[in-house]
């Protein structure tokens, strides 16, 4: 068998999986998006742009997704970076593994259950009650974008921590000494060496979190209480409740398109930032 033949054979399982689970469903979605809703729901074949013309009806879902996905990514980054930095650079090596496991522990419980816990924390008898005690009253947290943001950061933090941790952990600490030796204060060393060198980890973490957030529906469903909903929630509603498959497909296709555009733009940006570094494959 030729090398080429062997390669094809090895790639066949993944290729088949890719075709059946991704390409065909995506094609179906695109075809459906040009169709019409049947009288009793579902899909009736047609070729119309009506569904796409109807998209503004779900404007709120798109707006929430496009605002909260980047905001959630950014918030996760801002919280995860110092944590990853501490774990990789400062933490006692003997405790590193233990601390790292503690970051993953929440993953051992379903996100559903963990999000329900936040309902209580953010609800009337949780944090707002505590704020009331110190004189800050009438704070409403649950069912607000802020509640969804908290849920997002809580749920996705480990995904951001890990790539940055791995990156910082591999950072040659002698470079930090070299920087100090050349007259850079600790803060300037961070800005000029640590931060640029950890860019690949940041890029990976942000990409992971952002892509998953664009398709998120569970956290807004639980902590947004139907007031703050994502495109994902709109899709659940369209496919399972109102059974408007055609319109649902149009919304789904648009979401995929938005993701493609934003991820491509993001990769371009990262590639430009990391252009100086050939030795680190960014993705």
């Amino acid at each position: 068998m030729t090398q080429r033949g062997r390669n094809l054979l090895l790639l066949a399982p993944a290729g088949a999986w890719f075709l059946v689970m991704l390409v065909i469903p995506l094609a179906v979605v695109i075809i459906f998006s040009f169709g019409e809703r049947g009288p009793a729901g579902g899909y009736v074949p047609a070729f119309t742009l009506e569904q796409y013309a109807n998209l503004p009806a779900r404007w709120a879902a798109f707006k929430n997704t496009l605002m909260l996905a980047p905001a959630g990514t950014l918030a996760s980054l801002l919280i995860a970076y110092p944590l990853a930095y501490y774990l990789a650079v400062r933490a006692d090596p003997r405790w590193k593994t233990v601390l790292l496991v503690l970051v993953i522990v929440p993953f051992w419980t379903s996100i559903l259950i963990r999000s329900y816990a936040w309902i209580f924390l953010l609800g009337g008898r949780g944090i707002p009650a505590l704020l009331d005690l110190i004189g800050i009253d009438n704070v409403r947290l649950i069912n607000t974008p802020f509640a969804v943001l908290i849920g997002i950061v809580y749920g996705y933090l480990p995904l951001m921590v890990f790539p940055i941790f791995v990156n910082l952990d591999r950072l040659d600490k002698r470079l930090l000494e070299a920087s100090a030796d050349l007259g850079a204060s600790p803060w300037r060393t961070f800005l000029q060496v640590t931060l640029p060198m950890s860019l690949p980890g940041i890029a990976t973490g942000c990409l992971l979190v952002f892509i998953l957030l664009m398709g998120e529906f569970l956290i807004p469903a639980i902590l947004g209480g139907g007031k703050v909903f994502f495109v994902g929630n709109a899709l659940v509603d369209l496919f399972l409740q109102s059974r408007n498959w055609a319109f649902g497909s149009a919304v789904a296709a648009t979401l995929v398109l938005l993701m493609l555009v934003s991820v491509t733009a993001y990769m371009r940006l990262i590639r430009r930032l990391g252009a100086q570094r050939e030795d680190v494959a960014l993705m």
Partner: protein
Amino acid sequence: MSEAAYAPPSAEPAAHPIAEFRGVSKRFGEVLAADDLNLSIRTGEFLSFLGPSGCGKTTALRMLAGFESPTSGEVFLDGEVVNDLAPYRRPVNMVFQHYALFPHLTVAQNIGYGLRQRRPKPPRDEIARKVRAALEIVRLEGFENRRIWEMSGGQQQRVALARAIVNEPKLLLLDEPMAALDRKLRKEMQIELQNIQRRLGITFILVTHDQEEALSMSDRICIMRDGRIVQTGTPRELYDQPRNRYVAGFVGTSNFFDGVVERADAYRARVTLGCGIALEGRVLAPVAAGQAVSVSVRPEQIRLARTATGGETGWEVTILNRIFLGEHTEYLVKHDGLGEFMVLTPRQAELSDGPFNAGERLTASWEATSALVLDNDQAPQAN
């Protein structure tokens, strides 16, 4: 243990030392990495810390750089105590063992890094000019925009050197800078380092475990062992007047005959070896009768001859092995009482009498003044 008491005259502190250790010790948990270091470093000299790994030489260097602060004692830089002064505030730069060049920056950006940290920040064109000058010194003109990973090991080493000297530091610290280079490159780099040092007049402090490197480049060498300074002196002083067996074994090679002092005065001593033979030798540091010592005789100070020469004690030896080294021939010989020892014979001397062959029986002899009686109480495994 005071270093000054044993130091040859040249090791007296200069009027204005650029750096100084005064009773400096450094403890890492249970380990005493530096033990009461006393050393004065002169402005403009090339000084090496020489010793095996774990002898404290790197700790000494890191205390000068500011990466470690002493547990006790004082480190002086330019007349001021700098024990706890952060590395980035010191007028000192280091060439790191594995260079520690910034992979995300170009060669020019690496070299200009130190200049860019200055406040007020120097103008762009001044930085560019200095970077170019530094590249010229290390003979890397035109490499400004290269990436670090595009450079060979030897080139990276030059970049690391340029990155340090461009800042015109008061002290340039070199931590085993040649360890990663192959033999030929290392030789070249040694000569180049020396030239650069003389040209710039910067005080160089080198840490190495390679005696050849230390001997060939340094004005003075500070020999360390178990966190202590054993002896400081010029390469010649260390070679001709080693303080003890350890130094004699570390600087050059020597034959050691272990024994006990039978009698001694200020200049000479008579030593009885384990086999009962008595050897005479010169005394550099006082020894007392009954003291455990080694009689050290350098291989090149021993003569081999087919017939015994008069006036000296001759030893009947058998040649075990011969290694031809070009200019010299190295013989491993054996005497019934003294055991095995090395003899280095210059080509010149062999023209009349040699070459000698393995198995041949000869007479080995040396002048009593070339045998040194050295303290042996702390050197179980030298040479």
